[in-house]
Subunit: 461 residues, 2 copies
């Protein structure tokens, strides 16, 4: 393309800074932005996390490596005080690779589907399960067919509704979370769930689920979207009325010791008033946890480096928290709030990023109307970034890890939001790798988060 359209947009994009250059906050935000866009370290930190640590499921060797990586990264960013906060975490292990497919005498070739056991599920055991598959589109259809599923494998083939834009995950994830117990209620022996993703490929997407303790716990796996369409066709065609063989080898071991990894800059005026910023350190076991939630933690760590590099001395204590065990237990976020309560800490604001690092758009603002009015008055500082979407949410909603803090103290929350259309293509799958993250988008996200932290620190909420 030629340059004329970009010349116009150049004019458009720089105007907000030049016009307000007198304003001290504009100057500081411009400095933050320039430093992160030209010299940002978040991308190289993410590379190290993905390539030298990789997966870091709670309780795994990767978790302990990640904790050491986090301590080192926070020290290098310049935190005054870096420490571990212990919490017990669940220790679920996948064991040897799952299998789902038809191994029958009637067919020359066996058929296999790409599946991953859902997090926290029980295993089929060595012998596996052989049973017919009953496909349902949703819970309504399960209700209608409740007499057909006894002794069968229920296959939830609920599509990710791409027309919802930012709501498709929340809409579809209930089949992964609650589907196994809903099927067990009617005597199903196992569950297969269509992966909760908009991507059409052969990667299964795992994720946590919850058993209803009053019902039998049955094995459950996610199947790739390509695999789901094939299975749906196969059970009506080539493998009609035949038994699928499913084997999973996972196990829930006793809880083990994990840690929140914490780094602080002590506040100059209000050292006892805390601003918490974070993401989660753990990840699911396929992939590298690059977007979920490597980006969240490297952006948070970078805020420390930015403040230190630019010589900004925050009034309040800035505490970066790399939360343990968000994915299958939320033990880190829970522990963090419990300790804060025990110590009678004062928490004035919490920010979480757990949705990747696509183009930044703003924040879900879980706070009072009055606080939100103040946040809205800062909109002008975010125009340059095109990140002015501030969504009021009275009941919290900033994120999972900072949720317990909100419940404990009614702490004002910022849940960082991006354009968010690529995140669920990768999420909880082997596709969640470093190469999917744009350095420039990651740095821009950091600039937006750091700017909001600066404004709250400077002016209060």
């Amino acid at each position: 393309m030629l340059k004329n359209i970009f010349t116009i947009i150049l004019f458009f994009a720089v105007s907000s800074f030049t016009a307000k250059a007198q304003d001290e906050d504009s100057v500081m935000i411009h400095r933050l932005s320039t430093e992160v866009l030209l010299n940002g370290k978040a991308y190289s930190n993410l590379y190290t996390l993905c390539k030298s640590v990789g997966q870091r499921l709670s309780g795994s060797a990767g978790m302990y490596k990640a904790e050491q990586w986090g301590l080192q990264a926070l020290k290098e960013a310049g935190a005054d005080n870096v420490y571990l906060q212990q919490c017990m975490v669940p220790h679920w292990v996948r064991g040897k690779k799952e299998f789902a497919g038809y191994k029958t005498k009637n067919h020359k070739n066996d058929t296999e589907y790409n599946v991953l056991a859902l997090g926290n599920t029980v295993a089929t055991g060595d012998k596996g399960i052989s049973a017919e598959v009953v496909e349902v589109k949703n819970f309504d259809e399960l209700e209608k067919r409740k007499n057909d599923v006894k002794g069968k494998i229920v296959f939830y083939n609920y599509p990710f509704n791409k027309t919802l834009l930012r709501g498709a995950y929340g809409d579809a994830v209930r089949y992964r979370v609650n589907g196994p117990s809903a099927a067990a209620k009617y005597g199903a022996v196992a569950v297969i769930v269509r992966s909760v993703t908009g991507a059409y490929d052969d990667y299964p997407h795992t994720g946590t689920m919850h058993y209803d303790e009053s019902l039998p716990k049955i094995p459950a796996v996610a199947i790739s979207t390509v695999g789901a369409d094939k299975l749906s066709a196969d059970i009506k065609g080539a493998y009609k009325n035949e038994k699928l063989f499913l084997q999973t080898n996972c196990e829930m071991l006793p809880d083990t010791i994990g840690h929140n990894v914490i780094g602080e800059i002590k506040g100059t005026e209000f050292p006892d008033e805390i601003i918490t910023i974070g993401g989660h350190l753990d990840s699911w076991d396929p992939g590298e946890g690059a977007s979920d939630d490597g980006t969240g933690i490297v952006k948070s760590i970078e805020i420390i480096r930015l403040f230190k590099t630019l010589g900004y001395h925050p009034k309040h204590t800035i505490r970066i928290v790399l939360f343990a065990n968000e994915e299958n237990g939320l033990r880190g976020g829970t522990k963090y709030a419990e300790e804060a309560k025990l110590k009678n800490e004062k928490h004035i604001m919490a920010m979480e990023s757990d949705g990747g690092a696509e183009y930044p758009r703003g924040f879900v603002c879980g706070m009072t109307k009055g606080q939100f009015t103040k946040v809205q008055s800062w909109t002008k500082y975010f125009e340059h970034f095109d990140a002015t979407k501030f969504v009021f949410s009275e009941g919290g909603g900033g994120g999972a890890d900072i949720g317990p803090l909100q419940q404990a103290f009614k702490t004002a929350q910022f849940g960082f939001i991006t354009t968010g259309q690529r995140y669920f293509d990768l999420h909880h799958s082997a596709a969640d790798t470093f190469d999917k993250v744009s350095a420039q988008e990651l740095n821009l996200c950091t600039a937006v988060m750091a700017s909001m932290v600066y404004l709250v620190d400077k002016h209060g909420l």
Copy 2:
């Protein structure tokens, strides 16, 4: 991540449609959006273009294959009338691979840099050029060192200013476009330009340049950003005062026949009033031209399919144009406007997409104040997409290919804009491939473009 944040965003995202369900335009835009997000064909069309045609530089065999692909794709989308519009195009060929490096007796190992000849440049010839390299950061430094460059290779090492967000390309591209003649003025024998990209990798990014006809034409290449940093270090260190060997083998052949590829739906009320929508069919020769500008043309073609599938009969004639030769001549866009003028056509609106298919944000609106006021009144229809950025631009600026139409008729223009932070990582390089495009973002872009075309067609401008 868990679901609570997404539940809130779900509520936020769907509200605009449900609240305005009575409005006929909302209903139509919702139908367009649903069709493209669930059943869109743009992504599979892009796959075919990238993988079965690939590069399609003007005059190359790829250009002719692409024209045939375009005719077929427009027919399959349901265009009433599909045809070629002939225009002569430049026929520049790269020839055998370029070389830039040190081949000296003083070093055990030769050093090579990844370079690509700039489009339309002359070659060094078989013998190549051996000369010392003089590095300058910018044109000011060239002026200061004008007495040092005679007989030398000028190396413009001007960085892509990532802090400008949407303006970095317009800022840096002048060294690629005008650098060779500026150096030739002071007797330089060749030019090396740091690639105009924010990516830090080893892909050189080519692109067009313009010789000042009053000055000697000297060979010019782009060097990768990693290569540029290495070269900069090498000429101060290991290869100080040594001669770099540069060889390019490109050639400008006589103009050849190319075509704009056009598909129409005839207007029901105003068949003689034309709405032009398009992107360019040609690409540079490395990569697959996926984002530049494969996405622009598959989105445009998809608008025909959407209108046909949904039974929407436009009042005005909708004309999709896959423009020839945007990259190194603009002959297609020029020819299109000339023919329109000759035939005394009436052009009420033109829309161009030539900036990839990242998250859609809106349009540069090159039109009168009155027309812009009308466009702004439609903002509500774009809230659901979060694509409400309408930037007024009195002097046109909608895009290169529709520029001549604006000059001929003062036709109102829409230049489609996205978040646009990844585009120049890929642009004009071997990295511009299909796998970099998100299906969901591509479909959302199409929904936004189709919605604006629908509104202009329905209500006029």
